[in-house]
């Protein structure tokens, strides 16, 4: 029976339903399934999947290694390029990356399940405990990494491998960045983000200091003074404004904060959710907060997006995931004003939109959506590097191919740099590339 308690409330579901709703969205392959699936790979020449992979994992090779009975070698092939291969196997939008490029997609519309095979390989090796890499002879060089998200962790790991001493400064209580606080709970079950951090730190030579951020006990100048190199993987702060009237009333929330709260909740039944939820945005965060609201027992969840399905940053597959879980996606509409009742959000007045001569405009026609909870999920663009002389581009840090910033001795990667894909895997790639560049710099 649907829970129709008005307003924002916890406990909308029977207790047992929470575990069920937030279980692994793609259950792992068992050994037999992995063998059957790996048999489907054609071991393509100059494989399109590998070309499509933002971190160029040798996919045909690792699948062949699974197929020949050596999942642990497969995991090494993956970790060589991507030490967060375990998380990427869970969160990568493979349907728009490797699996979209798979020739089996062209041949029969069913790509090899590369993501699940990657998870099978990395899970197999990680289940063993221990760490697959060893460190080079200590170099005596010290590197500061700011931010313990995917970019920072990947950078720190590769630097530690090369024998450097790494200190990671992290603002939050836990490491992992968006892996720990951001992505949807059903993509990273069983505390995997924390386990992966432990796995990465298993290489040694990395110290993490929590509660430290630029401007909060840290300055770039001091970091530069005390270290031989600095890497910034600070992500994005703040959320873009809605640009609608009354968007500061009770009931209007930032999706990223809510997801973080959800990810850290020990008892999901205590997490309040609206009966009617409206999400504004078109990216992964919008999908994640919408689907999770629904899974928490919201009766109606609507995503409002100002353009069409093709323009959404969330892939067609992700849109389908939301829709099959009962989320409605209202395309070609934008928020005008939050409707307020008794000082709280009661709905959202929206205006239909249209593209006229390539420009998005409101049509003037207004409709109201009832809502007791409204989420802002229209992106984060604000970076906080107060007082630094770093060149920016489109509001993010400008870097070159090696992820060097405009300031010598400072590298950057992940969501805080310009021109990225805003994907975990792309952040990892940034971190690894920066680390290789830093290593060359330190050895010069």
């Amino acid at each position: 029976m649907a829970d129709v308690k008005p307003g924002i409330s916890g406990g909308r579901l029977a207790h047992s339903d929470y575990a069920l709703n937030f279980a692994d969205i793609h259950p792992p392959l068992d050994a037999h399934e992995a063998l059957v699936e790996s048999d489907r790979c054609y071991f393509c020449h100059d494989a399109p999947c590998q070309v499509a992979c933002p971190t160029s994992i040798d996919i045909p090779m690792f699948i062949r290694q699974i197929q020949t009975g050596h999942a642990k070698s497969a995991a090494r092939t993956i970790f060589d390029q991507n030490i967060l291969g375990g998380m990427c196997a869970r969160v990568c939008p493979t349907e728009t990356l490797c699996e979209e490029a798979c020739v089996r997609e062209e041949a029969e519309g069913k790509p090899v399940k590369i993501g699940l095979l990657q998870r099978y390989a990395t899970d197999t090796l990680m289940a063993e405990g221990g760490h697959p890499y060893s460190r080079a002879k200590p170099t005596g060089k010290k590197v500061a990494v700011v931010g313990a998200g995917p970019a920072g962790l990947a950078c720190a790991h590769r630097l530690a491998m090369h024998g450097h001493e790494v200190t990671v400064f992290e603002a939050r209580e836990k490491s992992g960045g968006l892996n720990e606080y951001g992505i949807a709970a059903y993509k990273s079950t069983d505390d995997f983000a924390r386990k992966e951090v432990d796995f990465i730190l298993g290489i040694g030579g990395i110290t993490v200091q929590h509660g430290k951020a630029l401007g909060k006990g840290l300055s770039l100048d001091d970091l530069k003074k005390d270290h031989d190199a600095v890497f910034l993987g600070i992500g994005l702060q703040g959320v873009n404004a809605l640009g609608a009237a009354n968007d500061d009333v009770a009931g209007v929330e930032d999706a990223v904060d809510y997801i973080a709260e959800l990810r850290q909740a020990t008892d999901l039944s205590k997490l309040p959710v609206g009966r009617r939820v409206v999400v504004i945005g078109g990216g992964m965060t919008a999908i994640d907060v919408a689907v999770q609201s629904k899974l928490l027992g919201a009766e109606d969840v609507t995503i409002v997006y100002r353009r069409g399905p093709a323009q959404m940053k969330a892939s067609a597959y992700e849109q389908e995931v939301a829709q099959t879980r009962g989320v409605r996606i209202k395309h070609w509409a934008m928020p005008k004003a939050v409707i307020v009742k008794d000082g709280k959000a009661a709905g959202l007045a929206c205006e239909y939109t249209a593209e006229v001569n390539g420009r998005l405009t409101g049509t003037g026609e207004i409709f109201d959506l009832a809502a007791d909870m409204i989420f802002r999920a229209i992106g984060q663009s604000h970076i906080d590097v107060t007082g630094a002389a770093l060149a920016l581009e489109g509001g993010r840090i400008k870097v070159d191919d090696e992820r060097r910033t405009s300031v010598p001795g400072i590298w950057a990667g992940g969501d805080c740099v310009a021109g990225g894909l805003d994907l975990t895997v792309a952040s990892v790639d940034d971190g690894r590339r920066a680390a290789e560049s830093i290593n060359l710099f330190l050895k010069a």
Binding site: L35, V36, D39, R40, Y42, F43, C44, H45, D46, A47, P48, V103, R104, E106, A107
Partner: protein, 436 residues
């Protein structure tokens, strides 16, 4: 609908699909199940001489080679001939033949290579009312160590001698089952014919070790830490069997000798190929052991439908049609020129053709066009080896197209429409001599 009825050396069966002498035909229970499923006949698992029955190992008897998704491609066994008392087998054969008179019932026999032994068993077998006997001169493991099976099949004189005894001491049609574990299959086949055999059947299994257990360094299947070679069969051996059948079919001394073909027959198509190569019946074992007896339904309907499409009313209408086209290499037309062609609509751009050609062959495939991933044959380098065709995962995507006019861009030579082979080729020293 095509008529699948078969009359092989006077032995009638409703279709040419027989189960080979092997575990599936060891006893009444299995054979009755096979007949119910629609098999045309069986060769009853090999009987030995009277006395204490054969003893089999109690450990694993089979090993295998698998393809994708554990599809069984090759099977190896170390099982011996029947381990049930002779009398029990004979009673069951008699009973089953009586109850299934329209099916072919052949009895496989293997006794020591002495006249008395054969003389003793033949009347007992004949008394069952079976349709014929098959002499097991093929089994390459276990029994061969005792001077039977392939130990006989590897000595043409023994084959001829024993065949003659069988013809002498019984009125039953005699099929001699040949071992492939020899250098030239024509010699044992000729010996069988000389001895008076009504037919030959081939191939029996090939001596093999399918794999080594890397934990205890022993061949698989492993019996208490040791392994011995077994007999290999299944889809993997079909090409070997097909060649040996062809060799016998086109040899001057054995041409026309009826053949019951065995070796990797898994589908109707395999059967049709063997029949086209002159086989009167086909014998199946591994396919049944892999999928069960029901597969015969696919084989029968597949063969009949293909015959209907081709307009063949009976099996005899196309039997042996491929034999005249099997020739020696020296007679192949050296003026015949083809080039590989990639159908761009079917191509899925896996690039396996490119990897195969570039790394291991003739560098005759382009992998890019206008900066895009695109695979196309370079006729100027293509020798038409067919490797790209075979490694392509898409059926019919790459085909060989004959060039009938103009110049072969690889050799720069004009296409010659005439047939010319090695025997007259200027590079052939023997040919030159003949011309002088």
């Amino acid at each position: 609908m095509a008529d699948l009825r078969s009359n092989f050396i006077g032995i009638k069966s409703p279709n040419p699909f027989w189960l080979a002498s092997a575990p599936p035909t060891d006893k009444e229970y299995n054979v009755v199940r096979a007949f119910k499923a629609g098999w045309g006949g069986v060769v009853w698992k090999t009987l030995g001489e009277e006395g204490p029955p054969i003893v089999n190992v109690s450990g694993p008897r089979y090993g295998a080679i698998h393809g994708a998704d554990r599809r069984l491609l090759g099977l190896n066994n170390i099982e011996l001939i029947t381990d049930r008392p002779l009398e029990v087998n004979l009673q069951e054969i008699k009973k089953v033949k009586r109850e299934w008179p329209d099916r072919a019932m052949i009895v496989s026999i293997m006794v020591p290579c002495t006249e008395e032994s054969w003389k003793a068993i033949l009347p007992k077998v004949e008394e069952t009312g079976c349709d014929g006997i098959e002499l097991n001169f093929g089994c390459p493991h276990g029994m061969s160590e005792r001077g039977m099976g392939s130990a006989v099949g590897q000595v043409p004189e023994y084959i001829e001698m024993v065949t003659r005894w069988c013809k002498q001491y019984s009125r039953m049609p005699v099929i001699v089952k040949l071992t492939p574990n020899i250098t030239d299959i024509r010699y044992p086949a000729r010996a069988a014919r000389k001895g008076g055999a009504d037919a030959v059947s081939l191939i029996n299994t090939i001596s093999s070790i399918v794999s080594v257990d890397l934990d205890n360094f022993a061949p698989m299947p492993t019996i208490d830490g040791k392994g011995s070679h077994g007999g290999y069969c299944g889809p993997a051996v079909k090409p070997i069997a097909l060649n040996m059948v062809a060799e016998i079919a086109r040899d001057a001394e054995t041409r026309g000798l009826p053949i019951s073909a065995i070796g990797g027959v898994t589908t109707w198509r395999d059967a049709a190929e063997f029949i086209a190569m002159s086989a009167g019946t086909v014998q199946v074992c591994t396919a049944a052991m892999t999928y069960g007896f029901r597969i015969v339904e696919e084989m029968k309907t597949g063969l009949a439908r293909w015959m209907d499409e081709k307009g063949y009313a009976t099996v005899e209408d196309f039997r042996g049609r491929a034999v005249p086209n099997v020739t020696d290499w020296q007679y192949l037309n050296l003026n015949y020129v083809t080039k590989a062609h990639i159908d761009q609509d079917l191509c899925i751009k896996c690039g396996r053709c490119y990897a195969a050609c570039e790394d291991t062959s003739h560098q005759a495939i382009f992998k890019e066009k206008d900066g895009k991933r695109h695979f196309e044959v370079n006729d100027a380098e293509c020798v038409a080896c067919n490797l790209c065709v075979e490694v392509c995962p898409v059926d019919n995507c790459i085909t060989m197209v004959r060039q009938t006019e103009g110049v072969d861009p690889r050799t720069g030579r004009k296409i010659n429409p005439d047939y010319a082979n090695w025997t007259t080729h200027p590079n052939n020293p023997t040919a030159l001599k003949a011309a002088e």
